[in-house]
Symmetry: C2
Subunit: 423 residues, 2 copies
């Protein structure tokens, strides 16, 4: 660990799937580092995540104006590029760690801020151990991020609240549409949302309804084995009662045998495996079994990039964990993740905490069964209590010519000092 009052540069990188607010965390890291110039020199950002360190392809965030850095707070995507890349264990791939140390040393880097999910927390933990294991002292702090909301200990994961808001808003809006059309046209609307392992995002759609009978009428969770007969009956009942039915399906919905519902074994005219989301599979059931007219939407990247409808709470938390990561580092912490701690549900109060990375890495927080109604198709009051605060508030980006004015950084490269990495 760098001694107090020893000025070192910092490395910041984004990892895994990006979100509407990961740049707000970057903003929190960079703005906070800039307020501590005696301790932190320059924040170098990895171009395409950790690869930027391995390839010595770093971005000098010091070349960005204060205004540009502030604009990260309202800009979705990953401003420096992200990567899906998990470092292997120290024993399995010692060369990679030696390369990291080589790059860190060449650029006088003493702080490592890593912004990602569970896999990234594992990488961050390994980097924090470089001091003890390989003699290169470095402070490694994890900045949580994932739309999947599956990191342990933290009350929620920055990125999730905004997807939750997008999905709830979209469900409410599309439901008004199909309700208007049902007399002579579409009876069933299906919205496919993300969440391969856990139903957090699908659950958020439940916030669209406020009283019994409100859409969405059916949510299909990865946690509940798909019951075809019960599903079709529920669709049919909803159409009988309301003249329409809104279904939200998680991409991770599974058959009782564990196979993804989306893996329907369908093939095209050439015998290729047919691509297509789970929405298509569900729609086809509605058509063939119930002969009802349907529409479906697949939100995909739209849901996690929709900064225009981000949750203000989420934006603030994303910024706060970025700021906290720097402050934790300056307090002498290492191998921890900044967390969100819930103090109260209504009114919602939260604070920043910390969790040791050893307890975070490679752990998935699943949605509790008590968040799902007994019939498996809806959310409970407990789920609402948990979810509702996370979508609170709007944090609109500025607009120019009718479109959000998102910033494109200059992303000036740091001059390389080393030969290229051996791959």
């Amino acid at each position: 660990m760098p001694r107090k009052n020893t000025r070192k540069n910092a490395f910041y990188a984004q990892s895994g799937g990006v979100t509407a607010v990961i740049n707000a965390s970057a903003c929190g890291v960079i703005e906070t580092a800039r307020r501590h110039k005696a301790r932190i020199g320059t924040v170098y950002a990895g171009r395409n995540g950790i690869l930027g360190a391995l390839d010595e392809e770093m971005i000098d965030t010091g070349k960005e104006s204060a205004k540009a850095i502030a604009a990260l707070r309202h800009t979705p995507g990953g401003a420096f590029g992200s990567a899906r890349y998990k470092l292997k264990g120290l024993e399995e791939n010692r060369a990679e760690y030696e390369r990291l140390i080589e790059v860190f040393r060449a650029h006088d880097i003493g702080y490592f801020f890593y912004n990602g999910g569970g896999d990234s927390a594992d990488t961050c933990l390994k980097v924090s151990q470089l001091g003890a294991r390989m003699g290169y002292p470095i402070v490694a702090i994890h900045v949580p991020k994932t739309v999947d909301n599956d990191l342990p200990i933290t009350d929620t994961c920055p990125g999730f609240g905004s997807v939750a808001k997008y999905v709830a808003v979209s469900t409410r809006e599309a439901a008004l549409d199909v309700a208007s059309m049902s007399k002579t046209s579409t009876k069933v609307f299906i919205l496919e949302v993300m969440g391969r392992h856990a139903g957090w995002i699908a659950a958020a759609a439940g916030l669209a309804g406020e009283k019994a009978g409100d859409p969405p009428h059916i949510i299909l969770f990865p946690e509940i084995p798909f019951d075809r007969a019960a599903f079709l009956k529920k669709v049919s009942d909803s159409v009988s009662r309301h003249d329409y039915c809104v279904v939200v399906v998680s991409e991770g919905a599974r058959n009782p045998d564990g196979r993804f519902l989306a893996d329907a074994g369908t093939t095209d005219a050439f015998g290729h495996k047919q691509l297509g989301g789970v929405a298509t599979v569900v729609a086809d059931m509605v058509r063939s079994e119930l002969k009802l007219k349907y529409h479906y939407a697949i939100a995909d990247y739209l849901q996690r990039s929709a900064r225009h409808i981000a949750s203000k709470t989420d934006v603030e938390q994303a910024y706060a964990v970025g700021r906290a990561a720097v402050e934790l580092a300056l307090k002498g912490e290492n191998a921890v993740m900044a967390t969100i701690v819930r103090k109260a549900d209504r009114p919602y109060r939260w604070a920043i905490g910390k969790a040791p990375l050893a307890k975070v890495a490679n752990q998935e927080k699943m949605m509790p069964r008590r968040f799902i109604t007994p019939d498996g198709f809806g959310i409970t009051a407990a789920a609402r209590r948990y979810l509702a605060p996370l979508v609170q508030g709007e944090a609109y980006p500025p607009y120019r010519n009718g479109l959000p004015d998102y910033v494109a950084l200059r992303n000036v490269p740091v001059a390389k000092k080393l030969p290229a990495r051996r791959k």
Copy 2:
């Protein structure tokens, strides 16, 4: 036509696919009628469009508070229900027209305000002729609405500007996402948008980019026969140059033989015709021919119900044509549609005009070829000049508990006076 100073009730109905702003037009009609109580009694809304008149299932909008009617301005969907139902010709189905007259007479209806697209303009025209042909004088004014933007004479169609804004914003956001992921993951992102006959909505995605090389890199229009080789080369070039490629595809994209691209002749494991959007077909090409990782989104109803990101210009125009319809009726006009007249591009200035329904009904305004770049994959400066003003301004709805506070009207039925319709 009712004589001046003769007070008559009005009938208002929504027709065809609903939009994010059709209720703003309803708001314009009802609020304006309420300011002219000496001439217009009550506005009765058709439950499920014109079916509400045929079945004598009408809603007494007089029972709604001023606040509830004002909230229509920010509520998507069709507040009274819409219908896909086209009246046949007077000679083919005289009984239907006689029933309309019977209902209108029973409820002292002298004004007919019909809110829809091209087919509905035809219905509105037929209703306007009831006076001359069947001795029941009625003033029929059309209120334009369609996300397809394909009505003639009017500069644009209320509903389109908001879809355009949604699609341009979503394209810009998702592009930032895939650009961040492209180094190690997704290289191609495909967004499917509406527009079965014309590429207006797809063209709007082009607003997301501002300079050469900006996403979207490819737009597939219904107007341009799909050239598979040219498309794949363009995807490949974009990935070589930018490391990623954003494709926006209209659901109406067609093969050179005229077949929809979505009609890929694919079947599932049981030999059923495989459902699925055109995005799936395009994605499969990218996978099988270029071996590139892709993601795709299908916006479907989300795009036309997204009141949360409506264009302020569109909301204002939707309200204005509703108001104008009532004012035109009170000026003694009949068989006309309220139109938007463009006075200037930059700064955008517009006014309300009128067009005879005989010139509107059953006409489709196609997108001019000069709006599409010579290579068929992008939009021109002329298209930008036309489109840019239509997405200007934000008109956020109010929020409650983190979600848009959309109004649900009481929709109190008008007491029936007639026996049920013979069907």
